[in-house]
């Protein structure tokens, strides 16, 4: 445990609904003042986890602590925790002013008027103080929900998909805004989302959840560059996963045989010791070159590829490359204009630096965590 006194800690927290295990023996420490994201597909248990911290669900087992105080059995209104609800849950019969002042008035804070006006100012809605929530736009309602929670200066602010109802452009704006506010006031934010991009842009630490457990936790860059499971590799960004078998795992570099071609993976990025494994590499890390045209000294190379599809995206081009063993590998190339793009049927070699690949346990489903565009929303 870290030394900070107000960390949010979940110890062995489990939640069952009948036979369904929503959250399974979860251990989590959220350092005080950090922006923490719980990321996962719907039904992975992230919202249930959040509701247990808020006190809206009771854990079947385990403890929830803030600092040294055990809050597992405290009623929601006794917890130093506030929530920004997914649907905002603004009080429709109260004005914006009264919505924001609600928490302060319940705690009989004397200068609630002054504080509410300051909060209205912070969220830039002073002129809407006397309106009712349904007279505001989605983005404005979102800011009211945020202000209504923040004004109580909670130890931990919980955000349940707070940007889900906003359109893309507004969502990007609010991401920047939320991050700015969090940095300014230094309150711990626990942000639940299924949007990996949102989690990566905002959070200091991401816990990727799946089926009620945390698959992997770390800084966004760390998770992206060195995923430890196929689920994380696919859910965060895109991965090419190629079946291979470990030949030598004794040195700094683990040597893997991929369909007859040898490649190396740094030992620290190898998450399986022996036998078969999924060799993973991100599409933008791969450099494609005309077959036999380059000598790669210290890189991994897979030869025998043939371009089967060219997708032009403006800033980049996406190639699908059919490998001799039948798999199609995705390659992104930035459109620097240094060379002419490949055409369908071109023979290519694929190369990447040893520090960029990762090796995952072969027992896992290579499709795990893949999202279709419909799922993404």
């Amino acid at each position: 445990m870290t030394g900070s006194t107000e960390d949010l800690r979940l110890e062995n927290v489990t939640k069952r609904f009948g036979d369904f295990v929503a959250v399974d023996a979860l251990d989590l420490t959220v350092p005080q003042g950090s922006f923490f994201a719980l990321l996962g597909p719907s039904g992975c248990g992230k919202t249930t986890t959040l509701r247990m911290v808020a006190g809206l669900e009771e854990p079947t087992a385990g403890r929830v602590l803030i600092g040294d105080e055990d809050i597992t059995n405290l009623r929601p209104y006794r917890r130093p925790v506030n929530t920004v609800f997914q649907s905002y849950a603004l009080f429709p019969h109260l004005t914006i002013f009264e919505n924001i002042a609600f928490g302060l008035r319940r705690r009989r804070v004397k200068d609630f008027k002054q504080k509410t006006l300051e909060m209205l100012n912070l969220i830039q809605l002073e002129q809407y103080a006397t309106r009712k929530p349904d007279q505001l736009s989605g983005g404005q309602q979102q800011r009211v929900a945020l202000g209504r929670a923040l004004i109580n200066e909670p130890g931990v602010l919980l955000l349940d998909e707070p940007l889900g109802a906003l359109d893309l452009k507004l969502r990007r704006q609010m991401q920047v805004e939320l991050k700015r506010i969090q940095t300014e006031i230094g309150i711990t934010f626990v942000h639940v989302t299924h949007d990996q991009e949102e989690a990566m842009t905002m959070a200091d630490t991401i816990a990727v959840m799946n089926h009620g457990v945390v698959e992997q936790m770390g800084a966004p860059g760390e998770l992206y560059e060195n995923p430890s499971t196929t689920f994380v590799a696919n859910f965060l960004g895109q991965s090419n996963l190629i079946m291979g078998s470990v030949i030598d795992s004794t040195g700094q570099t683990v040597v893997v045989d991929c369909h007859g071609q040898k490649v190396g993976v740094h030992a620290g990025r190898s998450h399986t010791a022996a036998g078969k494994g999924w060799l993973g590499v991100r599409p933008e890390k791969i450099f494609a070159s005309p077959a036999g045209s380059e000598d790669y000294f210290d890189s991994n190379v897979l030869t025998g590829g043939r371009i089967t599809d060219v997708g032009f995206f403006g800033v980049s081009t996406q190639y699908l490359v059919a490998m001799p063993w039948g798999q199609e590998v995705v390659v992104f190339e930035q459109n620097t204009g240094q060379r002419a793009p490949f055409k369908n049927g071109d023979e290519v070699d694929l190369a990447w630096s040893r520090g960029h690949a990762y090796l995952l346990d072969a027992d896992q489903d290579a499709q795990a965590g893949m999202t279709t565009p419909e799922d993404a929303e």
């Binding site: 006190g55 009623r75 929601p76 209104y77 925790v81 609800f85 009080f91 019969h93 928490g103 705690r107």
Partner: protein, 304 residues
């Protein structure tokens, strides 16, 4: 369209809304659909009300045999108030007590159905409505048996010494008010249920998250959001209870008679149509006035 004197209409302001054939046809349909309802209201509400008003001004010395003549006899109203003000007072008191008790009983019931009943919700709603399958008259007659001097309720209350040994329930105000409560409880419960069911449980969670204990959360969120139901429930209970005469007739004695009983006997027994009409008009006006004050004070004008 009207324009200022001498001001030639600016072209962009002048055109009357262009009604193309399609729109006009749709509007025509709208009116056509309203027609049956309007006709109904005119024939069965507006015309009889006007007729009632005229009847209330007939010469009071008229009779069924001699006929009635219109003499614009406004003194009928003075006589009616002078002779029956105590009946009015009793009606409003009984109806008021019944409404308050209905609210006190109906609110928890509606709350339980809306939030706690789970899969029993529909069954409970049907149970609330079930009494309507039997006639109003029969149900009230049944209460005569329930409250009778040798009945279980009276005996029980005598045993626990709430009632003296010769005390009775039937033929007392308690019986009449109990009958009113029983008969009008569904009219309170259903609108309350309808508006409580619309309250988003997440708002109650949000109130809890914002430092409201269960009671404060109820007072600040659930109750205000259910006010439309409270207002319509009390109106649906109070208004018909004011004019009710069956309960007083079957469960009470002339000492418990309400204004409805007087109107009934004036109309049907004495054939004193001017008196009966003026009593009806007074009852109607007083109730309308009370409703207006009530709705204004509850701040629910836009909710009813």
């Amino acid at each position: 369209m009207t324009h200022g004197l001498g001001a030639p209409a600016a072209p962009e302001m002048s055109p009357a809304p262009v009604v193309d054939g399609e729109t006009a046809r749709r509007r025509g349909w709208g009116w056509l659909l309203l027609l049956p309802g309007m006709l109904w209201l005119f024939v069965f509400f507006l015309y009889p009300t006007i007729q009632l008003f005229f009847t209330s001004l007939y010469d009071p010395s008229g009779s069924f045999e001699q006929g009635y003549s219109m003499t614009w006899h406004f003194a009928n109203y003075v006589d009616a108030v002078r002779d029956t003000w105590n009946l009015f007072a009793r009606s409003f008191t009984y109806a008021g007590i019944a409404t308050v008790v209905c609210l006190a009983m109906g609110y928890p019931l509606a709350y339980a159905i809306a939030f706690k009943a789970g899969r029993w919700k529909n069954v409970m709603l049907i149970l609330v409505i079930a009494p309507f399958f039997t006639s109003f008259l029969l149900r009230t007659l049944a209460w005569r048996t329930i409250l009778s001097d040798n009945g279980p309720v009276t005996s029980f209350l005598q045993t626990i010494a709430v009632l003296p040994d010769d005390g009775r329930l039937l033929a007392t105000p308690v019986a009449v008010i109990a009958g009113l409560i029983y008969n009008f409880l569904p009219f309170m419960t259903l609108p309350l249920y309808a508006s409580l069911d619309k309250v988003d449980p997440r708002l109650i969670e949000a109130a809890g998250d914002l430092y409201s204990g269960p009671f404060t959360g109820f007072r600040k969120v659930t109750l205000p959001l259910s006010m439309p139901g409270v207002v319509s429930g009390t109106l649906l209970c109070f208004i018909p209870a004011c004019g009710d005469y069956i309960n007083a007739e079957l469960l009470g004695t002339p000492k418990q008679y309400m204004v409805g009983n007087r109107i009934q006997s004036a109309f049907l027994t004495e054939h004193n149509y001017p008196l009966a009409s003026s009593l009806s008009i007074i009852l109607m006006l007083v109730v309308v006035a009370m409703v207006i004050v009530y709705v204004r004070r509850s701040g629910a004008e836009d909710l009813v």
